[in-house]
C-alpha cells in the first residue's frame, strides 16, 4: 500500500443475501438449505484511494451503498471480493454512546465508550477533562447517566467520539446532535481536526456541510463510483441526477398506483380572519409546490376563480423543499400573487388549490372580513 494513502479500496464488491433476513433458528437454517438465497449486489467493483489529510464526503441517495462502503472501511463487515486496506489508527463514529451503561456516572461511561474505540486508560486520562469540558455537562458528569436528558446523553456521547485520538475518522450522519449551539461547536471541532491533518471520511445527506467541510466529494450511485472530485461540482451533478431520478420514480409509482401526487399550498398574506376595507384591493400572496409537472392551480374567492394570478420567485421555499421535492422545485417560480376587490361588507373565503387530473392534492383556505 502506498504510504501517502490513508485508505485503499481495490476492486471491492459487496453482496448481501436478501431473500431472507438470515436464518435465525435451526429450523430456518435447515429449511433454507433447499432454497436458493437471492444475492443483492450493494457495491460493484469500487476502487478508491483516500490520501492522508483529505476530508472526503461520500454522497448518494439512501440505499446507494455509501454507508456500506463506510462499514467496509471500518471492518465491521467484510468484502465479498476485493480488498480494503487502511494505514493509521482508525476510529469510526457510526454509533454514539456505544457501551454506555445507564447505572454508571458520565465520567465512568467516558471510559467505557472511549475504550471501545481502542484507547488505553492513559490516553483517556489525558483526554477526560477536554471531553467533560466539551460536553458542557458540568457537575452532572458525576451523576448516573440514566438521570440525563436525551440531549445531555448525546452531548456526552459526541464529546467522547470527537475527542478520540485517531489518524482516520469515519463519520456517518452524526452532525445532527443537540441544539444549534452544540451543532456549531461540533462542526468547528471537525474543522479543527481537518486542519490538524487528520483524514476524515463523512457520509452525509447534509450537502451544505459536505460543501463547507470536505476537500473532495465521492458520489456513489447505485453501487458504483459515479463521480469523484471537487465538492461543489460533484454535489451539483448529484443534485441534477437525483432530480431526474426522483421525477421518474414518482411518475412510475403513481402509474403503478403505489403512490399519489402530493403538494403544499400556503398563503402568506393576508392572515386568516384579518380585516380589510371595502373597495380596496386585497393582494393574496403565497406559494405552492407539487411533485407533478402538469398540475392546475387556482385561487377562488367565495367560489369564483381569480383570473389573474402571477408567479413570483421564491428561492427560500425552494431551498426548504429541494430534497423532498427534488426535480420539481428547480428553476420554477413557486410563489403566486393574486388580487381581488371586496365590494360589500362581509366574509370573503379565499381558497387556493392544486389539482392533478381533477383530484385535489393540496388546499389552503382563509377568511378575510371586509367592513
Amino acid at each position: 500500500m502506498n504510504s501517502d494513502n490513508a485508505i485503499e479500496v481495490r476492486n471491492l464488491t459487496k453482496e448481501f443475501k436478501v431473500s431472507y433476513d438470515g436464518a435465525k433458528t435451526l429450523k430456518e437454517f435447515l429449511v433454507r438449505r433447499h432454497t436458493k438465497a437471492e444475492k443483492h449486489v450493494v457495491l460493484k467493483d469500487i476502487s478508491l484511494d483516500i490520501k492522508k489529510g483529505e476530508t472526503v464526503g461520500l454522497i448518494g441517495v439512501n440505499g446507494s451503498g455509501k454507508s456500506t462502503l463506510l462499514k467496509l472501511m471500518t471492518r465491521i463487515i467484510y468484502p465479498t471480493k476485493g480488498t480494503v486496506e487502511t494505514n493509521g489508527r482508525l476510529t469510526s463514529l457510526l454509533e454514539l454512546g456505544a457501551g454506555f451503561h445507564p447505572d454508571f456516572t458520565g465520567r465512568e461511561n467516558i471510559y467505557f465508550n472511549a475504550s471501545i474505540f481502542g484507547m488505553t486508560k492513559k490516553q483517556i486520562d489525558a483526554r477526560v477533562d477536554d471531553i467533560i469540558a466539551f460536553s458542557e455537562l458540568g457537575d452532572a458528569i458525576d451523576e448516573p447517566i440514566r438521570t440525563y436528558s436525551s440531549g445531555m446523553y448525546m452531548r456526552l456521547a459526541f464529546s467522547v467520539a470527537i475527542n478520540v485520538d485517531a489518524d482516520i475518522l469515519l463519520i456517518d450522519e452524526i452532525l445532527a446532535v443537540g441544539d444549534q449551539h452544540f451543532q456549531d461547536k461540533c462542526f468547528d471541532k471537525l474543522l479543527e481536526l481537518k486542519n490538524s491533518g487528520k483524514t476524515i471520511v463523512i457520509v452525509s445527506h447534509a450537502l451544505d456541510q459536505v460543501r463547507r467541510l470536505c476537500t473532495r466529494a465521492v458520489w456513489i450511485y447505485k453501487g458504483t463510483l459515479r463521480l469523484d472530485g471537487d465538492p461543489a461540482y460533484v454535489i451539483e451533478a448529484y443534485k441534477k441526477q437525483s432530480a431526474i431520478d426522483h421525477k421518474e420514480e414518482k411518475k412510475a409509482a403513481v402509474e403503478s398506483g403505489t403512490a399519489a401526487y402530493k403538494g403544499v399550498v400556503f398563503i402568506d398574506s393576508p392572515s386568516d380572519f384579518s380585516r380589510e376595507k371595502c373597495g380596496q384591493k386585497v393582494t393574496v400572496n403565497g406559494w405552492r409546490i407539487a411533485d407533478s409537472d402538469d398540475f392546475e392551480f387556482s385561487v377562488e374567492v367565495n367560489g369564483k376563480p381569480v383570473s389573474e394570478i402571477s408567479e413570483v420567485d421564491r428561492p427560500d421555499v425552494a431551498s426548504v423543499y429541494e430534497e423532498e421535492y427534488a426535480g420539481f422545485v428547480e428553476d420554477k417560480r413557486l410563489g403566486f400573487s393574486a388580487a381581488f376587490v371586496p365590494e360589500k361588507a362581509g366574509e370573503y373565503v379565499i381558497r387556493a388549490q392544486i389539482r392533478t387530473a381533477g383530484r385535489i392534492i393540496a388546499e389552503k383556505q382563509i377568511t378575510v372580513i371586509a367592513s
Binding site: G22, T25, I76, D103, F104, F112
Partner: protein
C-alpha cells in the same frame, strides 16, 4: 491478533467492571445477588437430597457449597460467552473492535466473581469445622483450568450462536447434563465399582475439577495434578481451536443481526 487484543485492553477492563458491578447495580442487594443465588441453590439441595439419598455424608452442606459455587462459575462463563455476541449485536453492527474481547470479558468477570465467592466457601468450611489449609494456593490453578474450558466451549458456541440462535438453548441443556454427570450434588461413591455410569462420569472433565476443589477445601491434600493437568491441556487445545473457529466466523457477525 494478540497485539490488537493488547491495544484494546482497556475495553476488556471496562467490560469486566461493567459486568461485575453493573449487573446488579439497579437491585437493592446489588452485587450480593451473585453470591446469594448459588447459596439458595445449596439450600434447596441440602433440604431435598438427604431424603432422596441415604448416607449423603456428614458434611453434605460443605460438599454442596464446594461443588455448586465452582459449577456456577463454569456455567456462567459458558453461558455468557455463548450469548455475548448476540447480546452485543447493537455495538457489533456499529463499531469495530476485536470481537474476541467479548468472550474474554465473560471469562475474566466469571473468574473474579469466583475468587470473591471463594470467601463464602471458606466461611462454610470454618463454620462446619473443616478448617482451611495451605492447599488453598491450588485454587487459582484449578479455577483457571476450569474457566479456560468454559471459555473454549463458550467461544465456539458464541460464534455459532450468532448464526444459529438455537445454540444457546442446546448449550443450556448440555450444561444441565454435564452438571448431573459430575459429582457436584452427589458423591461418586454412590455408584458401584465398575458400573458403566461411574466410568462415564470419570470421562467428564468437570469430575476431575470437582475432585480437585474437594481435595483442597475439604480433604486438605494436594489435588491430583495429573488429572488437572490433562484437563488444562485439553482446554488449552480446545481454546486454540475455538479461537480459529471464532476468527473465521466473526467476519459475518455484523450481517447476522
Amino acid at each position: 491478533m494478540l497485539r490488537e487484543l493488547y491495544d484494546y485492553r482497556e475495553l476488556l477492563k471496562t467490560n469486566v467492571k461493567k459486568d461485575i458491578r453493573g449487573r446488579y447495580k439497579a437491585s437493592v442487594l446489588g452485587v450480593l445477588w451473585s453470591f446469594i443465588n448459588p447459596l439458595l441453590q445449596v439450600l434447596v439441595y441440602a433440604i431435598v437430597f438427604p431424603y432422596l439419598m441415604k448416607g449423603a455424608g456428614d458434611h453434605y452442606v460443605v460438599y454442596l457449597v464446594t461443588g455448586i459455587i465452582p459449577w456456577t462459575f463454569f456455567q456462567t462463563v459458558v453461558n455468557q460467552s455463548t450469548t455475548c455476541i448476540k447480546a452485543n449485536s447493537g455495538i457489533i453492527k456499529k463499531v469495530y473492535f476485536p470481537r474476541m474481547i467479548l468472550p474474554l470479558s465473560a471469562f475474566f468477570s466469571g473468574l473474579i466473581n469466583f475468587f470473591i465467592s471463594c470467601v463464602i466457601i471458606i466461611v462454610f468450611c470454618l463454620i462446619f469445622g473443616m478448617g482451611v489449609s495451605w492447599h488453598l494456593i491450588f485454587v487459582p490453578i484449578i479455577a483457571v483450568t476450569e474457566g479456560l474450558l468454559g471459555l473454549a466451549i463458550g467461544t465456539i458456541c458464541g460464534a455459532i450462536n450468532a448464526y444459529i440462535q438455537d445454540t444457546e438453548y442446546i448449550v443450556n441443556f448440555l450444561l444441565l447434563m454435564a452438571m448431573y454427570g459430575a459429582p457436584i450434588i452427589y458423591e461418586t461413591s454412590i455408584f458401584p465399582d465398575g458400573s458403566r455410569i461411574g466410568a462415564l462420569i470419570q470421562l467428564n472433565p468437570m469430575t476431575h475439577i470437582m475432585n480437585a476443589y474437594r481435595d483442597v477445601f475439604m480433604n486438605h491434600r494436594i489435588p491430583d495434578m495429573g488429572a488437572v493437568g490433562i484437563v488444562f491441556l485439553l482446554s488449552f487445545a480446545l481454546f486454540l481451536v475455538a479461537v480459529a473457529v471464532f476468527n473465521r466466523m466473526q467476519k459475518g457477525f455484523a450481517e447476522q443481526f
